[in-house]
């Protein structure tokens, strides 16, 4: 795809390097030549209104790519309104609209095709975006490029670093802000063995037993949205599109039906084992191995073996 584009990154983000790798892989997949890109890095104590002001003035390209994440999504959507363009979040791929591909190569401002997940992750939708400039926030599940490829890709693009400027006009300027302590590391991000509990863990008492068994098994413990939203497991243990995207060697799922949003969170697991009393649960077909039975009984026995 022949486009001039901009990339937006946040210097203070703990995912800065990960974001660079994801964008690097995305550019390659989309056929976007790095020589057509410019990188904007926002640095310093972040403020959303300041970021919007800076980028509204600085961005001139027709296609703007944001790293995955909620801050990027907010920037993409609000900038599109301010610049009279079109935004989309959770973007899986972008390409030139076919009719546009055959046009004059110098004209690179036409419509684009974008893929993203819809209907709670059950389908992928393809959309035509017609009014540029286009502001696209990438999907969290996109893969990373290797460090060598990333260094080469970003080495070809000019980079501009800008500091957030506190503004008296920012309606949230001067607010009383207190940073809350970060949650303890759940170990989900790097775990080789994960136990994931669903609605079938059933109660706070069931969750307590589930966490004890995870500890005995030496597994990191996570949960589905129903298990977390019922307050049985803490929020930082949520696995799925709005929680952790995990990639263990083995993910043993207990008492979960296998909602699309949860499956997206464990899709990168090498092996998925499911234990559920409902043999018709969708997860029965989405796991490598399925046990129709009581999760607690199976885990108790496994704890004796590991």
């Amino acid at each position: 795809m022949n486009r001039f584009f901009s990339i937006i990154l946040f210097a203070g983000s703990p995912r800065f390097e990960h974001d660079r790798r994801v964008i690097s892989a995305f550019l390659k997949k989309s056929g976007l030549a790095p020589t057509g890109g410019v990188v904007f890095v926002l640095d310093g104590p972040p403020r959303m209104e300041s970021a919007l002001d800076i980028l509204e003035k600085e961005i001139l390209s027709d296609l703007v790519l944001f790293a995955p994440g909620a801050d990027s999504e907010e920037l993409a959507v609000r900038l599109a309104v301010r610049k009279g363009g079109t935004s989309m979040t959770d973007v899986l791929s972008v390409s030139a609209e076919p009719a546009q591909e055959s046009c004059d190569e110098q004209d690179n401002t036409g419509a684009v095709l974008v893929d993203r997940a819809i209907y709670n992750g059950h389908l992928t939708g393809t959309f035509t975006l017609e009014n540029g400039p286009f502001f696209l926030a990438l999907d969290r599940s996109l893969p990373e490029a290797g460090s060598g490829t990333t260094a080469h890709t970003f080495g070809l693009m000019p980079q501009k670093t800008m500091e957030y400027l506190p503004s008296e006009e920012d309606p949230l300027h001067g607010s009383d802000r207190q940073v809350l302590p970060p949650p303890e590391d759940t170990g989900l991000a790097d775990a080789s063995f994960i136990l994931a509990g669903g609605r079938g863990i059933g109660s706070p008492a069931g969750a307590k037993r589930f966490l004890e068994l995870a500890d005995k098994l030496g597994a990191a413990a996570g949960g589905t949205r129903p298990a977390v939203m019922n307050g049985w497991l803490p929020l930082d243990r949520l696995i799925g599109v709005s929680g952790s995207l995990v990639h263990p060697q083995v993910c043993l799922v207990c008492g979960a039906s296998g909602s699309a949003a949860f499956m997206a969170g464990i899709a990168q697991s090498r092996t998925i084992i499911a234990v559920n009393t409902d043999e018709k649960a969708p997860l029965a077909k989405q796991a490598d191995a399925f046990v129709c039975g009581d999760w607690a009984a199976v885990l108790e026995e496994l704890a004796g073996l590991l």
């Binding site: 959507v77 059950h122 939708g125 802000r177």
Partner: protein, 280 residues
């Protein structure tokens, strides 16, 4: 008086739709979800409950206060089936329950936000507008941000709780740039609700339902709203071109031991022994 507008959406429970229906719907572009139970989307549901909690705390902390000091409006954009949720909210104490009549295109967040903005222009201004961060159908994650832009109001996202420390100010727990913060800000404000454990919408008592049974649900057409209020005309043009099912299928091998002990042993030998040996 604090005026709060709480926007919510009801959708079918998409996880209850059979795999075959997704495949046929993706091929034809036509879905029939009429047989699937409708539910308030989870982010909206948390927002509705958080508003009730903030109201309860506000009234408890202000001995002189009365329910006249805080006015709650519940607004949804959807078909008549959404009125069941509005009746529940009326029973729970929402003062005005309003439905914008129609079936919004789930992929045109700009139109939804423009309709809400027009409603605000007609009935506002509001001190606080609360919306779910995303809904399961379109999953656009755009409506709160669009609304903040259309109304020129500040916004906080990934909100997990809020309270009124004093008139005209709100303390909000939210996540921004990777940090969880508690921030006290001046109103007005738009809040996009994120994940909030334990914030399922309370259930009204039979008495509350009976008392609210005569309450009217206001119904407005989006055309009338936009015509009256000259709502922001969205510049975006987004067209759906096609859909494809997401294939998560794996081997699905059934493991059937004669009891839990034998089943566990099969799992261990087949899938876990190698892992535990590497870890040692």
């Amino acid at each position: 008086m604090i005026k709060i507008l709480n926007c919510f959406k009801t959708t079918p429970d998409f996880d209850a739709v059979p795999e075959a229906d997704w495949a046929s719907g993706a091929a034809t572009g036509v879905f029939d979800f009429s047989y699937i139970k409708q539910e308030i989307d989870p982010y909206s549901e948390s927002g509705l409950e958080l508003v009730l909690r903030a109201r309860d705390a506000f009234l408890k902390e202000s001995p002189a206060g009365s329910t006249a000091d805080i006015h709650l409006t519940a607004l949804t954009f959807g078909p008549e089936v959404s009125e069941k949720a509005l009746r529940t909210l009326a029973a729970l104490g929402y003062d005005d329950c309003v439905r914008i009549d129609g079936i919004p295109d789930p992929f045109q967040a700009e139109q939804t936000a423009a309709a809400i903005a027009a409603y605000c222009a007609k009935t506002g201004p509001y001190d606080l507008i609360v919306l779910g961060g995303q809904s399961p159908d379109g999953g656009n994650k755009k409506t709160p941000y669009l609304l903040a832009e259309y109304l020129h109001m500040p916004l906080l996202k990934q909100v997990s709780g809020f309270s009124f420390p004093q008139p005209g100010r709100l303390t909000v727990c939210h996540t921004t740039f990777g940090q969880a913060v508690a921030e006290t800000v001046d109103l007005p404000l738009v809040l996009a609700i994120g994940d909030v454990p334990g914030a399922l919408l309370r259930v009204p008592t039979l008495r509350q339902r009976k008392e609210a049974s005569g309450r009217e649900i206001s119904v407005i057409t989006p055309e009338k709203l936009l015509a009256e209020e000259a709502g922001s005309a969205p510049s975006s043009r987004i067209e759906m071109n096609g859909m494809a099912p997401v294939d998560n299928a794996r081997q699905g091998k059934r493991i059937e031991g004669k009891d839990a002990a034998q089943t566990a042993k099969i799992l261990y030998e087949t899938y876990l022994r190698e892992l535990t040996e590497v870890r040692r």
